[in-house]
């Protein structure tokens, strides 16, 4: 097989964080090369470099042996490189055909011709989508097909899929795999990023594992087992990350949710969390876990159901009500919902309870605030140049600690953590686990949502499992296993959700 692309010693820094530290990668024609690693390992950054979306700080890219220097995505496209991002880059209001040929629309559009060509491309992928429909009206799986057809409409040598199946049903994922196999057989080089290891091992020819911005190793998929892949990704056995579970006093019920309904993904959900208890909320992506969190926090409207805090029913119409009542939420999307990236750590840390640092006239008590935030930072082991540094200059783990600092400062009785370790490196992960235990030991009720099931098993006193907006069941520590959790999560007609 001929070599299509070779990346040598690629480095890329953002502010103080080195996202890539001398990465080597090669891709051959007609292979599927999987790229795996934890969130934040640098996979997507590396692909952005290959796609010309980011200019590397140093390093060399060769395509077909020829040195290239991509300054923008167009330059990469001209070399036949296409990237299918998780967030699809389509214009939702334009038709399928227009989207496919967006880059090369002639000044006068011949609609018949455009649609015929679009249909031919979609047929080639084995799908049946009307080229005249607007992309926004299509299911996500079909939007992805449009994106692939767009790539096929040009000269295509290398195609990168960045976690394409995360948003797909099993059936759609299989059809996507068929497309990928077809592309490979046509001699295209495919780079495939995914967290689903079974999928990776069955689909890929070679697998490269990344960790903390470096390549751990590249192996033939046939020689790799899931366990070995995990060990390469994590660098140590997962269990070592969790602090010792000490005895904790479990107290009165802190949070009780009764028959919550909110939209399609929160259907009659009821559970409770007690003081000092850590309760997990597990399930597949899209099962409605984050939606439950947002409904409790007043971020989304509750259609029916009640919430009680410390035994008292409360009406929470907005996050403001929730925070005032003592509920905190560490949101799933840290950068969009958790922090104000441009603002200093100090400003973020006190935002949820500014009343503590202003006088009666609304003037800020800067000295007091500095002291408070410095103490918070020290107690959470926040690593930053100073508390005046903008949050955007911090690593993912430290950004997450800023969100935690905010809720420490606000000081509620219930804290909901939605994917607290997403995009966080292993060291910071372990520290965040320690903070979670501290919260519980301080008598708060803790609810954790995580897609990393091992994380739930390592932290939680019990794990509630959701599927399609319903509570499907509950696991206690003796029953903790991936299999048990998944079988609850995908059981169609499960027993009635257990009230905790």
């Amino acid at each position: 097989m001929s070599e299509l692309a070779r990346l040598t010693a690629i480095t890329k820094s953002f502010g103080g964080v080195r996202a890539l530290r001398g990465v080597d990668l090669d891709l051959r024609a007609g292979e599927v090369h999987a790229l795996i690693g934890e969130n934040g390992a640098g996979k997507s950054t590396l692909m952005r470099v290959l796609g010309g979306e980011m200019v590397p700080s140093s390093g060399e890219i060769r395509i077909d042996g020829e040195r290239v220097d991509f300054r923008n995505p167009r330059a990469a496209r001209a070399h036949g490189i296409a990237i299918i991002h998780q967030e699809l880059a389509l214009a939702p209001d334009l038709s399928v055909a227009e989207n496919i040929f967006l880059g090369e629309l002639s000044p006068v559009i011949s609609w018949g011709d455009l649609r015929a060509r679009a249909r031919a491309l979609i047929d080639r992928l084995g799908f049946d989508i009307d080229p005249g429909r607007s992309v926004g009206s299509l299911a996500v799986a079909h939007q992805q097909v449009v994106e692939i057809a767009k790539a096929l409409s040009r000269k295509l040598k290398i195609i990168v899929f960045d976690e394409p199946t995360a948003v797909l049903s099993t059936q759609d994922a299989e059809r996507l795999h068929a497309i990928i196999a077809k592309l490979r057989d046509e001699g295209v080089g495919v780079i495939y990023i995914s967290h689903r290891l079974e999928e990776v091992l069955s689909l890929a020819d070679r697998v490269t594992v990344m960790k903390d911005g470096e390549v751990v190793g590249t192996k033939a998929a046939a020689d790799l087992t899931i366990d070995e892949a995990i060990r390469m990704m994590v660098g140590r056995p997962l269990a070592a990350l969790f602090p010792e579970k000490g005895p904790r006093a479990i107290g009165e019920t802190r949070l009780e949710a009764r028959a919550l309904c909110a939209g399609r993904l929160v259907r009659n959900v009821g559970f409770s969390v007690r003081a000092g208890e850590i309760v997990g909320l597990g399930g597949l992506v899209g099962a409605g876990r984050s939606e439950v969190a947002r409904a409790i926090f007043g971020a989304d409207r509750l259609e029916s159901g009640t919430i009680a805090l410390n035994g008292q029913t409360v009406k929470l119409r907005s996050p403001k009500d929730a925070v005032a009542a003592g509920i905190c939420l560490l949101p799933e999307d840290r950068k969009l919902h958790g922090v104000v990236l441009d603002a200093p750590i100090r400003v973020n840390a006190t935002m949820a309870r500014l009343s503590a640092v202003v006088n009666a006239f609304g003037f800020l008590k800067n000295a007091l605030e500095r002291r408070l935030v410095a103490d918070l930072g020290a107690s959470l082991k926040l690593k930053a140049a100073s508390m005046e540094a903008p949050v955007s200059s911090l690593s993912g783990g430290n950004q997450q600690k800023v969100v935690l600092a905010k809720w420490f400062h606000a000081g509620g009785d219930v804290i909901i953590l939605d994917e607290p370790t997403r995009g966080v490196d292993v060291g910071a992960k372990s520290e965040i686990y320690g903070i979670v235990f501290r919260l519980a030991e301080a008598g708060k009720g803790v609810l954790i949502i995580s897609s990393e099931h091992q994380e739930l098993f390592g932290l939680c006193d019990r794990v509630l499992v959701m599927g399609e907006g319903e509570l499907r069941g509950e696991l206690l520590p003796p029953d903790y296993s991936e299999e048990n959790l998944l079988s609850l999560a995908i059981s169609r007609r499960s027993a009635k959700p257990k009230a905790a």
Binding site: F297, P319, K320, G338, A384, N398
Partner: protein
Amino acid sequence: MTAVTEPIAQEKRKFDFSAFLQRFGTLGIFVALVIAASLWSPSFLTAPNLLNVLRQVASSAGIMAVGMLFVILTRGIDLSVGSVASLGCVLSAYFIAFSGYGVATSVVLVILSGAACGLVTGGFVAYLGLPSFVMSLAMMAIARGLSLIISAGRPIPIGDAGDALSAFGSGFFLGLPQPVILMFGVFAVGGIVLNFTRFGRLIKAIGSNEEAVRLSGIAVPRYVLAVYVISGALAAVAGIISTSRTGVGSAQVGVGAELNVIAAVVIGGASLMGGRGGVINTLLGALVMGMIANIMNLAGVPGYHQQVYMGLIIIIAMLIQYGAGSLRR
């Protein structure tokens, strides 16, 4: 974790050119303009001319720029300021000339009217999520229409009842025209609010990431509403100043002023994407706008041509502000 902390320390020592430009770019433009103008025309750097520039700024973009800055910091825009100023101008003359309320009461009523305009614009923007561009465009039409209706399209002289107001418009305090003192006062209060209060901190944060602020338990709409109310009230003040200087209330005041005000704020380095901007730079931006007009008058550039040059100079100022930062990638 030394691997993470060490590069941060390195980063700090490196000189950040684009941050420097953002911070001091406006000052640079200001100083360069002063130097160029005084070389160009000996009459520029004279006390009467400089006072004239200041008075011009105070009664045009100056005071409104503070309100606009607040709005822009929240990632909004207020296109209605020019029209609300004309409403303030007409209403102040109307109240003084016809109502017999007296100057002080009239001034308070007019400021409240301006605030009410802001309340309408801001109410729809903050609580119904309508785009500020369109909402303030609607208010721009409404306020202009109201001032034309009230004045019946004719100037309203304030007459003897408005002597106190005229005295303010032409009076001096500590060697500076009183409207200029007022403008500096508004900027000073604006700076204090922005930098030392909860309100100032939150409107900046809202402009940077509204959702994160909302999810911190802050009642975001209240703050968004407030900036439009402030902008409306300050626009009315600008209208009153115009009345105080000319002695008449005219519906023709402030036509196109919103563009000069926005230009002043943006030359002052504020980001239309919200979250970034400061009071001192906004003042410099407003002074730059005033000086450009003044220099062209001194140089005898015909009025129609002035607009073209004004546009070109704004482009150049923006290139200096942002160019160097965004060209390097």
